[in-house]
């Protein structure tokens, strides 16, 4: 493809801006993975990332927007290396995800902070992010449930949307319990849910 084509590929100052934003974002992901998101400010983050406060504000607006960008980027395929079989059950998918999360406790804490922030009034960016993220994960999982019910991998007497909401909730909740106390039976409880959702013998 020639350099002067009319494709929407960014170039010049715009391309540099995008590259710079990405650089800052990658560095911010490292910072958050190591330290978590709590009790912080945009100014403190800028110092740790190694950019000016003005640059961070220019590229990300507010702390809330930066946290959302860091979370979304850290969940992009380039940053996650989960290998999940095509016929993995919904719970097996969550188990793979939980395994990856254990390597980045700071990002799990960032996610918990975003959700807690979203529950409070006056945080529209966090609320929109969390609401859309749950709706999206539930919808994708419900689709997997429907397919696997048709193929006899999951019991057919359960509503796919209810199964999806239940699996997401169990996965999030068990991850929290395990992070606080590794005696919490996270694996056992997820394995139990997986078994309960399969067709009765």
């Amino acid at each position: 493809m020639p350099d002067d084509d009319e494709s929407p590929r960014p170039r010049g100052a715009y391309a540099k801006g995008i590259a710079r934003r990405q650089e800052i974002l990658d560095r911010a992901i490292e910072v958050f993975a190591a330290r978590g998101a709590d009790r912080t400010s945009l100014r403190a983050i800028a110092r740790e990332v190694g950019v000016t406060h003005a640059a961070l504000t220019h590229y990300f607006g507010s702390l809330e927007e930066l946290l959302v960008a860091v979370y979304e980027e850290s969940n992009a395929p380039t940053h996650r290396h989960e290998i999940v079989a095509d016929d993995a059950t919904p719970v097996e998918r969550m188990i793979a995800s939980a395994r990856t999360n254990r390597e980045v406790p700071g990002l799990v804490q960032l996610y918990s902070t975003l959700v807690a922030t979203a529950l409070d009034d006056g945080h529209p960016v966090a609320r929109e992010f969390a609401t859309a993220r749950f709706a999206d994960v539930r919808a994708r999982l419900a689709e997997t449930v429907r397919e696997q019910q048709e193929r006899g991998r999951l019991r057919q007497d359960a509503d796919p949307d209810a199964v999806a909401a239940l699996v997401v909730a169990a996965s999030d909740g068990l991850q929290t319990q395990w992070l606080l106390d590794d005696a919490a039976p996270q694996h056992e409880a997820l394995a139990l849910l997986d078994r309960l959702l399969r067709p009765a013998d």
Copy 2:
């Protein structure tokens, strides 16, 4: 009982201090039930509760300790009026609890904030509270599971500790999803889990 006995009943200045602490706590519960816990400071809370910052610090130490005290007090029997049948299943108990929680969204948000804070390093009070609270709820629920398995109310091929962890996680997670989006099938998912945990026909 005479007033001058040697029982540990508080009296004099000590009794007044306890009563004053309780007054402040009751007022703080009202404030949090209405507003949530996020983006706040001990100073802002003192203003809303109507006491001095010094008084609040005297009685509660830090913001984290105040949040824990408010949460624990708001979950004491005097503040909760759940009617739960003795033979209610673990999930039915969580449903009764969720129904009460809907009346006090600010306290649910306070709970989410405490848990998110607990996940971050450097917050020993919140961490100790959240870890102990989960362990306690799981232990009590596992005991209920054992009893109901013996009486044939719950399926017997599931580990009681795993059931308890699963029910707590599902309940917490579904409450979060529902608070963000009342289209989330909270009731349907809890009813499904309840059914899955009962003995197969």
